[in-house]
Symmetry: D2
Subunit: 383 residues, 4 copies
């Protein structure tokens, strides 16, 4: 019989954690997968409480992920995919274990710390025919999909300049802090062992790189970066010159210390025939200017927004969808792909519209290149 | 044993319907209630398909609401509340049946057609000690709650002028249509028997009245309204002078024929010490100006947004929450209230923060007064 | 010999006065008229100082306007036009005197207090073949001219709704003031003898009526108005239902007590095919939406802004022109008209593009109708 | 006798030229200087026509600037200052001649091509006690002055990041043009002999550097720049990493090929305590955010905008002043300084508030450093 619902497990995301809850809500919105297993926390009490809250069977609340892989694989009703929402340093080993077990994986970004590891995961996924999504969330917004389609259709011509930024303010109090014990993110964000070689570029700068590639189809070729640590172990701010694979230049800026910016991802793509601007805090609109014409503002859900952006629309124009819907769109495509596989059907282009492991690999390369460039006085470093 | 999850049933909202899906997603986001029964459509096939999709027991997919009331009341595990998402003309009888059965009710607006009926429902709810929420959705947004708290705290002084509007464009093609058979909403929106005495004021104008009351604590005392039908049976546009119960004046405008507006609810409240402006399409910010000071823009989730707005916050600042979260906030308060009742606990002020039957009654009065005023050449009509 | 420069005189506008200075700067910008005579102040010292500052001949600094009319008329090099920038109650008699002497007149709004007087001035101007501009400033902005042309060309179809407002905050402290001696505008604004029957509608509401007529070509037919005095002698706030001459409805709101609004004139015109929005505080852009298409934002000075808006453009796009340029555009058309007359040339359509005495007359009617309606409990009053 | 008006001459700026007209209007607005001499064009007919239009004496319309210096210096009523509005390559020699003659100079930017020349002019000005303003126009806006004062007062703490851009679209059609004969700016903009080593950085990038220094008091220490020529002789686009003299980093972007940007100068300064954002196309507002507080939007002319911004205010809040007023503010300070000198009075801090020759020198250094860096693969170059 054709299946209409999937079973999934989650790593990390105990009750109260931010990003794990967003993942669950996103899956709930699309209504085609059910949470049946998990290892939500390394503190058993929290883990158990979370599993109970979602009505999981006792034997599917696992003590650790290795036990979970093993136990699930021995079941007939094993999970179809796992959602990994743990801190960065755990992504690699967890993803690897599930990929090797042939279970599809959704993983938070950044994928891992080293390009070598990223490419290894990519290889395993390919060999095992396993799907692997990396949640570069912002690619999930309907209007970002519309931007992608307009650019693909040549509406703005050849890309000649890119200006993108991702500014936040929440770590402004860390500037100049020498005593990390007092800082609000002392636990793991400033520990390279848990966070990787970069804090700011790794956490948010990588989103810029991913969304620019998603919209334009162009990878970042090289970077000349200045990362500012302000006396801390890792960066809080970065200004990055970039060259894309078509030779055009641009600038990416990311920061966690810019007062007045909350989650300020702004992407502006300039071409020979026009330009496109998208602002994450006003995600339901897209500004498009064609050379010699007035600025156009498109709104999600209106008749003039077509293609995938229309097919991924949830509610009428003017009714804000919000971030969770962007997440939902990623899960929707990923889950549709998995459903097609389990039902032996063909995967469509729409089904493939989620950020795959390729985005994960490029993201790791980008972060590493920025760190290396900054150490070399902003010399150009190829990805 | 203390219950942590509720059981609910739904009327209307078969797969594919807009507003019923929003209600279900909102409930799913808050994670404290489970769908167990329903009568989703008067076409059996659609009804069954929807019930099956959500894994409902066969015997809890009901043919009609009367059967549902009866059957549920005979069960030990009967539903705790029902969510009514059917067309307007069904609200009254459905709500009445469940209220009389002692089942808590959430109902879409407008509550019903006649003030008499509305007050009857209010009376039954009170007598039976049953909770009754009417989904004036926009009162659910965190920043609307912040506006309410600032005004209550006297931050803008005494209210001296109100300017609010709710503009849409989606019915612009109906203007001047004489052959209603060709119109896109011929089925029921232009039939007073199914829609009530007003289309535009009843559908969206009533939201203005509700949100102004929610924010300011002031009811609308009287109206002088001009409704424009543009040749159709019911109104598509309205401009309304209002007097609030404190004697201040203002204007409410609503329209479904204003090109360039999608869901343009804008509320501006002016007081002797300052003003407040909230725009539904940018719901996560609130503009507050105190006399003689710069304009302040507050963002949801930041440290300076406190009180209930903080407690109802789901995700960090700058990450758009969207309309579904506003709905979720209403269900959250309502469900917390129901949970407290079933567990024998005391209901708090936060739990009560949903638009109750009082809003439903005032809404019906407002719609009727606008219709009457417009028929009388915009003469003042008291609510 | 063909003249290229005009001579003008000014009434009111001594050094330091606001609006008189704006008039002089506007004329200076267009560079086709020279100040040669004036009666700038009823205090001789101020009058003399102003005249001297501008290098006027001693005998052309006049003690009063009657002397000025007489003396100028006896000169060969008499002034070509006079600019009247005095308080409201002086407009009528001054304009009358210069019109009767055959001298062209530019006068501040409101033209006068009574419709009868306004029509008398209109009659005199016509009989004497004298030009008469009333400075409804906002009609001078380039993008307002573009709006007018788009509407004339049918771009937004038939007008079906109008929503316009003019909100300020500067008199908020007057609300509830019983002791007018302490108020900041006690001298003449609250004295009906000097201000006329309305303060707020007369000062700013009249601008709404004028600009709507300018843009749409439609006069206001009737009004249902609520004026709020908040305990003072004259109004500080007004909400007005309107019916235009084509039968469409709308609302005009004006206020001097709305915190956070400085000079907030906003005009929105809705038609069967689209809509137009113009915001005075961002005067160089125009928002135009055609049904079913994205919102378009046009900018002054760009290639897609054509017609009179292009011909009245002073500086490149993106370089803000400001209010003084709007004034300059009015003077430019008026002075071009006068130059054509003195040179015996034909006046073109562009030359006529200034708000003429007809606007002045309609303005007085509008103000009077609003005052009367408000006294009659917001009953409809025809203009 | 104390003088209240100055006499000035102009170089360049014949009727119809853009920037020369702006200079004259700005001077006209401030009303303290009169045009009495000039050499407006190297085509005699245009030169004569312009001189005649402004009523200049025949013998003060000069064939060339050398004649003008000589003749003016021999007069008792010689000009007090000269305004240089010619193409870039003429600035150096003209400025030099007038400085040597002891005549105060206002000159368009960029000051000249070579740092050596710039410093020479600076030296001559100093030795001859002659004032020298370079029209970095945007420093003239009232709200830019307010930004400067807030930063000086420590309101945003120590500067830790800077993000500024100046984007235009007007040369987009030049991208990839090999046949410069067809291009719209073939005459001199793409000729390094007439324009200098950079087109885009020299024309608009230099404004970024100047306004950042004006606001923050911090000079640019070094740059790492990528200039894009798109096949032409000079740059049309540039992305520049910068380090300011306090060690903080940032990015400056300038472009003439970004569709949808007209004159998009945007300056954002981030400090340890807050941030400031100013947008040239909305010049009358300033966005200020203090850490942990809501975003504040200040408007020119309101009571909370104090200091020099208040003293340079021309018209009430909400009435746009526009670019010409920014120019006027620069001339106002410069002319007040000159007036004080001719009257033997002391020059105040307000009088000194115009961009002096120091800005001119830094601007030339900045342009040269960007060009050099770009030639060296974006290596850091010190100014």
């Amino acid at each position: 019989m054709k299946r209409t619902k999937l079973r999934y497990g989650q790593l990390g995301g105990s009750l109260g954690a931010f990003i794990g809850g967003v993942h669950r809500r996103a899956i709930a919105i699309e209504e085609t997968a059910e949470l049946v297993a998990g290892c939500f926390d390394n503190r058993w009490e929290n883990n158990k409480e979370t599993g109970d809250f979602y009505g999981l069977a006792e034997d599917r609340i696992y003590k650790d992920y290795t036990e979970m892989v093993k136990a699930e694989c021995s079941r007939e009703d094993k999970i179809d995919f796992v959602s990994i929402c743990t801190p960065n340093f755990l992504h690699y080993e967890m993803a690897k274990a599930f990929l090797e077990a042939g279970i599809h994986v959704v993983c938070e970004k950044p994928l891992c710390f080293e390009t070598k590891e990223a490419e290894e995961l990519q290889k395993i996924a390919k060999e095992n025919n396993v799907l692997f999504a990396v949640t570069y969330t912002y690619t999930g917004y309907a209007m970002v999909k519309f931007a992608k389609e307009l650019i693909e259709a040549g509406e703005i011509g050849d890309i000649i300049n890119v200006n993108a930024e991702y500014l936040q303010e929440w770590l402004i109090d860390e500037v100049g802090k020498t005593d990390s014990a007092t800082s609000k993110f002392s636990v793991w964000r400033m520990d390279p062992k848990m966070t990787g070689g970069s804090n700011c570029v790794g956490d948010i700068g990588t989103h810029i790189e991913a969304i620019v590639t998603y919209m334009t189809g162009l990878k970042t070729k090289k970077v000349a970066a200045v990362l500012d640590n302000y006396g801390l172990a890792l960066d809080l701010n970065a200004n990055i010159l970039v060259e894309l694979e078509n030779g055009c230049h641009g600038v990416f800026s990311c920061s966690q210390v810019c007062a007045g910016h909350y989650n300020g991802l702004v992407v502006r793509i300039y071409g020979t025939k026009g330009s496109i601007e998208w602002v994450q805090e006003e995600p339901d609109t897209l500004k498009v200017t064609k050379k010699g014409e007035p600025i156009r503002v498109y709104s999600r859900g209106t008749g003039c927004v077509t293609g995938l952006a229309e097919r991924r629309n949830h509610i009428p124009s003017g009714h804000p969808e919000g971030l969770t819907m962007a997440f939902a769109n990623i899960y929707r495509a990923f889950q549709d792909s998995v459903l097609k596989i389990v039902n032996g059907e063909e995967i469509t282009a729409d089904d493939k519209d989620y950020p795959s492991i390729e985005y994960g690999v490029e993201g790791v390369k980008f972060i590493q290149a920025c760190v290396e460039s900054s150490k070399n006085n902003a010399a150009w470093v190829e990805l």
